[in-house]
């Protein structure tokens, strides 16, 4: 391939701006949507616990996700500082 296409090489594609905040939420709370005061009220009215039994309730799950992400070095590849939850490169 190199002989045929000498200029072809892998390129770094910028992370789409629509995805960036989603990934920060995913890696900081484990899911894409937070639990708000309004949601807690509505969940109670639905006969549910105000905080769902997801990573929202179990912070150790979020810590596990961050350990896994670091082990895969996804954070480095994306330029995401997991401690500050900030991207090193902004649009």
């Amino acid at each position: 391939m190199k002989e045929l296409y000498p200029w072809r090489r892998p390129v770094k594609i910028p992370l789409p701006s629509s995805v960036k905040p989603q990934l920060i939420r995913h890696f900081s709370i484990g899911l894409l949507y937070p639990v708000t005061d309004e949601l807690m009220e509505v969940r109670k009215k639905a006969g549910l616990d105000p905080i769902p039994p997801t990573a929202h309730r179990y912070h150790e799950a979020v810590e596990d996700i961050q350990k896994i992400v670091k082990a895969m070095e996804i954070d480095k590849n994306m330029g995401l500082d997991l401690e500050k939850m900030e991207y090193r490169f902004n649009d």
Partner: protein, 305 residues
């Protein structure tokens, strides 16, 4: 876990399994009435159901398979191992989450090298996954395990006309059985399922990542127009991803253009719950809706009196 290999070998239609309900991102945060309806109705139908605890985002296969499949397989496994350690199969209602978890589980069952790779990363959190459970869609559990004949026989008919939105990922299997289950289950619960032009059209969720305007106007709104023209009482779905898109799009269209999509978007489990004797207020049906549900609730209550 000792009984699971036997469970995996027999006809799924004949199995009554223990399930852990995977909630995903959208259902607990935007559809509490659907979560409540599922958790309160299925045990009464003989399904052994608990929550899948500590779960995170599925994660979105549509994104992660393209970016880095290790993330898809490993974070999906992190969710599934919580059920495996509790000796339970996984029940999923959202089509998107179902595809993510079902496909990841299939890959890991069939490819020992992928399973080894995943466990290498899970070890960073002190976790391990055997890929020894089944992932089942809510529709499969209702249709095959509760039984469509039983539901047809027992469910009290709700006197409303509805349109259905199956969603793209419901077509994961070539035989189309999930779409058939969805259609037949809805037909068993209401007077009429009304067809409309754009029934097969995508909700537009994934398009948001590239072009929000296209996702809103060329997908969701076209669908809304087509549903509104049928003058139905509700638009029924099971996919939380599609609901997320419809909720976002209807809000945007109202704020930007004054466009009112006044057809309530509801979950199949709400109909099931009402049909089996729960009251709308038992599941918090009035709150966090895309459109007013007062008229619909009146009809539901009249139907089951």
């Amino acid at each position: 876990m000792t009984d699971l290999p036997i469970v995996n070998k027999v006809n799924p239609a004949a199995v009554r399994s223990k399930y852990a309900h995977f909630l995903g991102c959208v259902m607990p945060a935007k559809m509490p009435w659907a979560e409540s309806a599922i958790m309160k109705t299925l045990p009464g139908l003989g399904i052994d159901l608990e929550y899948l605890p500590k779960s995170g985002c599925c994660p979105r296969a549509g994104v992660w398979i393209s970016v880095d499949r290790r993330v898809w397989l490993t974070l999906a496994s992190y969710n599934l191992l919580q059920a495996e350690s509790a000796g339970r199969d996984v029940l999923v209602s959202c089509n998107g989450c179902y595809v993510t978890l079902y496909e990841a589980n299939k890959v890991l069952k069939e490819n020992p090298e992928d399973l080894a790779m995943v466990n290498q990363y899970l070890a960073a959190a002190g976790k391990h996954y055997e890929a020894d459970i089944r992932i089942r869609h809510l529709l499969e559990v209702l249709y095959e395990e509760v039984g469509i004949e039983r539901i047809r026989r027992e469910a009290k008919k709700i006197h409303i006309r509805v349109a259905i939105h199956p969603g793209c990922h419901m077509r994961i299997f070539e035989d189309g059985h999930l779409v058939r289950y969805f259609t037949e289950l809805t037909e068993a619960l209401v007077d009429e399922v009304v067809p409309y032009d754009c029934e097969r059209m995508c909700c537009g969720l994934q398009c948001n990542l590239a072009d929000r305007e296209f996702a809103t106007y060329d997908r969701a709104k076209r669908k809304f127009d087509s549903v509104k023209a049928q003058n139905v009482d509700a638009l029924v779905l099971v996919c939380a991803g599609c609901y997320d898109q419809f909720e976002r799009a209807s809000k945007t269209l109202k704020e930007t253009d004054g466009y009112d999509f006044d057809v309530p978007v509801i979950h199949l489990a709400e109909l099931l719950a009402i049909s089996y004797g729960l009251r709308p207020d038992d599941i918090g049906m009035r709150y966090m809706r895309t459109a007013p549900v007062d008229t619909l609730i009146e009809k539901l209550e009249t139907s089951v009196q």
